[in-house]
């Protein structure tokens, strides 16, 4: 039943990982050019070195298999799984060279956080970071938010033979158009277009707030990328609170909500099928979920002395609610307020919002609305079956780009992922508690990592225990792969390394 990888499989996997590493050298050109244009010669030299390293490493990996065949499903799964961590290692090199990190592990943490669009950061002195380094942080969000494989496919890096396997192994099962490459290109073009418009609007707002044009333009671009990709990195250490602008927060809220909508639904809107959008199971689940959680959140906030005023609750509470459910990680309050001024109920509501996340097929993390919707529909179906006569046949359907029947396989897949997420949240909480941290904060942080939410209760900071840091890196990685690919990867590696299977051959 369990087939181990052969040497040829490993060579093919190495080859395609090399393709991705070579592609990352293209992405590194952007911060290099930024550094040159801004006169930041030291960071520019770092990025030139990193480009060279990625070219050498990528070429070395490609030499493992000069002319490989297409990827089969198992190979595609491993390529997808390892792509995130291999690229994070390469992406961390210039971050570490910036001197803003205590150790390479800290830089790797930020690299993984950036690529998986978690948004948690343990950089020191972010406010004095160069424009080149900041540009790289948000390039990681852009590439990671779209999906490494999506970006690679849209550029045709894997040719025509491997697209479907890779696309599916990244957790995407829906084709916007029948052709995979065209689907990925649609996603990329849509994202770039929205980011461009948002950058323009945010630049005007930043100029009005008093920033100078170059700085306003750069910061707006970065905020737009981080908002739509639901990443969470910000150019200033105080996050969105720095700008003290309700207008900027409002634009970012729109971006975050936009980033948490399934790309397939965007295609439906593009084709003029608005009814398809509003009847979609994920949109309906999102509206019901947000309505309930808003009421609970507001009630828990009114219990606090500090946030019981309506303006404070509306502005701070609503923004944090949207930031949490979209798993972006923007904050318009300080981490101290999150821990001190928020009631424990409000604090846990934020964690719960991150845990559930946004829509499947979007840039968000978490369990996803679709799975929650399927599970609840399954519960309703079970109750109906119990009530209905024996001769009756209960069929549950749902609306997602047309009417579909809810099959047992769909429910099983949704429930499996749901359980995996919950178990990971709990294991992460236990690991945090084992390191001596407060239980509620440990739960919050574990949820933030595994759901790629990024909001921090303070555990994620420079000087955190290395073992906890490594664990959170694995959590972010697993969350981005939505566990199945990650666990399958681990099993495949374990099987391949089992000496008993070598002897059988």
């Amino acid at each position: 039943m369990w087939q181990r990888f052969t040497l040829y499989d490993l060579r093919v996997i190495g080859h395609y990982l090399g393709v991705l590493v070579l592609f990352s050298s293209l992405a590194l050109l952007v911060p290099f050019i930024t550094g040159v244009l801004c006169g930041e010669w030291v960071p520019a030299s770092h990025y030139l070195l990193t480009i060279g390293i990625s070219l050498c490493l990528g070429s070395l990996l490609r030499f493992l298999c000069i002319d490989p065949a297409g990827l089969n499903r198992q190979q595609a799964m491993v390529v997808t799984g390892f792509a995130w961590i291999v690229l994070a290692f390469v992406a961390s090199i210039p971050l570490y060279l910036s001197g803003q990190y205590v150790s390479y592990l800290d830089a790797l943490f930020d690299g993984v956080s950036g690529i998986t669009t978690t948004g948690a950061s343990i950089i020191t002195d972010l406010d004095h970071l160069s424009n080149a380094d900041n540009m790289w942080r948000f390039m990681m969000h852009l590439v990671g938010g779209l999906g490494l494989i999506v970006v690679a496919l849209s550029f045709g890096l894997f040719g025509k033979r491997s697209g479907a396997s890779l696309y599916m192994s990244e957790g995407r099962s829906e084709h916007i158009v029948p052709n995979i490459v065209q689907t990925t290109q649609f996603i990329a073009k849509l994202s770039v277009g929205i980011i461009f418009v948002a950058t323009f609007v945010l630049t005007l707002l930043c100029l009005f707030a008093g920033m100078e044009l170059p700085r306003a333009g750069l910061q707006s671009l970065w905020l737009a990328i981080s908002g739509f990709m639901t990443g969470g990195f910000t150019p200033m250490s105080t996050s969105v609170l720095y700008y003290h602008s309700f207008a900027i927060e409002a634009v970012l809220m729109v971006l975050m909500i936009g980033g948490s909508v399934n790309f397939v639904l965007y295609a439906e809107i593009w084709r003029g099928r608005l009814d398809s959008f509003f009847r979609d199971i994920e949109i309906r689940t999102m509206l019901i979920w947000l309505a309930i959680m808003t009421i609970v959140f507001a009630a828990s906030l009114t219990a606090t002395a500090e946030f019981d005023s309506l303006p404070a609750m509306m502005r701070r509470g609503l923004f944090m609610l949207i930031s949490a459910f979209s798993t972006t990680g923007f904050q318009n309050i300080t981490s101290n307020q999150l821990v001190t001024a928020f009631s424990s109920g409000a604090f846990l509501v934020v964690a719960l919002l991150m845990a559930v996340g946004g829509s499947a097929g979007s840039t968000t993390g978490g369990i996803k609305f679709a799975r929650i919707g399927f599970i609840f529909k399954s519960i309703a179906a079970t109750i109906k079956e119990n009530i209905a006569p024996d001769s009756a046949r209960v069929v549950v359907d749902y609306n997602h780009v047309g009417r579909r029947v809810l099959t047992p396989e769909t429910v099983k897949a949704a429930t499996t992922i749901f359980v995996l997420y919950v178990v990971t949240y709990l294991i992460g909480a236990v690991v945090g508690i084992a390191h001596g941290y407060d239980a509620i904060q440990s739960i919050f942080e574990s949820v933030a990592m595994a759901s790629n939410g990024g909001l921090s209760a303070g555990l994620t900071a420079p000087g955190m225990p290395p073992t906890l840091e490594v664990f959170y890196i694995f959590e972010m990685w697993a969350g981005r792969l939505e566990f199945v690919t990650f666990l399958a990867l681990i099993v495949q590696i374990a099987v391949s390394l089992d000496p008993r299977r070598w002897r059988r051959r």
Partner: protein
Amino acid sequence: MAARCDGTGLARAACAPRAGIGRAIPASGPCDGALAGARDGALAGRAAARFAAALVLACLLACAGGLALTHPEPALAIAPSAADDLPLRDDGAAAEGDAGEESGQAEGADGADAPGDGEPSPQDEDTEGAGNTGDAADGAAEGAGGEAGGESTQGEGGIEADPVQSPSADILELDPELAEDNRVNPQQLPDSSFIYDTSIADLSTADAYIDGQTVQVVGEAIGDNLRATFGGRQRWITLSSSDDSSTIAVIMSAESASRIDTFGAYNVRGTIVQVRGIFHLVCAEHEGVSDLHAEVVNIVEKGVRTEDPFALESFLPGAAAVAVGLLMMGLFYFLRERRR
């Protein structure tokens, strides 16, 4: 939570209220006793009431006298070239007829009409009070890497301070021409009741205990001078701690903010600013933000820009790596084409 009760001065305050935290100076004992005595005297009889009233008056005089003794030298003439380094009361109108109120800074002055700088009007960042414009570097150095340069009354750049009048004068009158300039005395200690000379790091982990208190911090101005109101009369400035890069949002008048010449960024160390004001953990006026309403703003040190010169040798390793990488890519494509 346990982590927060673990060593910071403010956290100790939370566990032991009013235990002389940091450099806070609570109201003196005799005054408390006198007031209590006054209350008791009302019941004890007219004689006791008279005695109590006299005692209260004496205490007030003593307090005011003590405040006056710690004030800086009044009426210092400041060279015009150093005007940029002068501290500014955050009323946005330092030049406007504050001479009468400046008398509170007179040494040995009759304390009866000396409001003292130590009690700025709370909740009012446009206070007209006699701002203690030369507040301490000493407390500022605590945990904040304060660089208030407490060696002399000269500010950054060596300001010559020529007293207009003898310090021994009972009443000092400011030269109206100097009213626009403020005195700098980085050595001055915080001398008012209920001022917490604290650090930005402490404020970033503060709990409700310090909410609404007058605090004094020193930090580097970073980022931008951002508009706070539609008209732009008030500005948001972010101060960063030099120790751990924690930050605090400060709202101040546009005039105060305009004194900040440099904002921290890459290769730029921003202006070091000392701010005294009221800290709000969750500010109702600003929809729940954690902020500091500035009442007194002092420029401690100007910003510094560091050049990042182009050095060809720093690009050589990268260029070599790129060249090797491109060669390897070329070799790969050559081998692949040869196979086909």
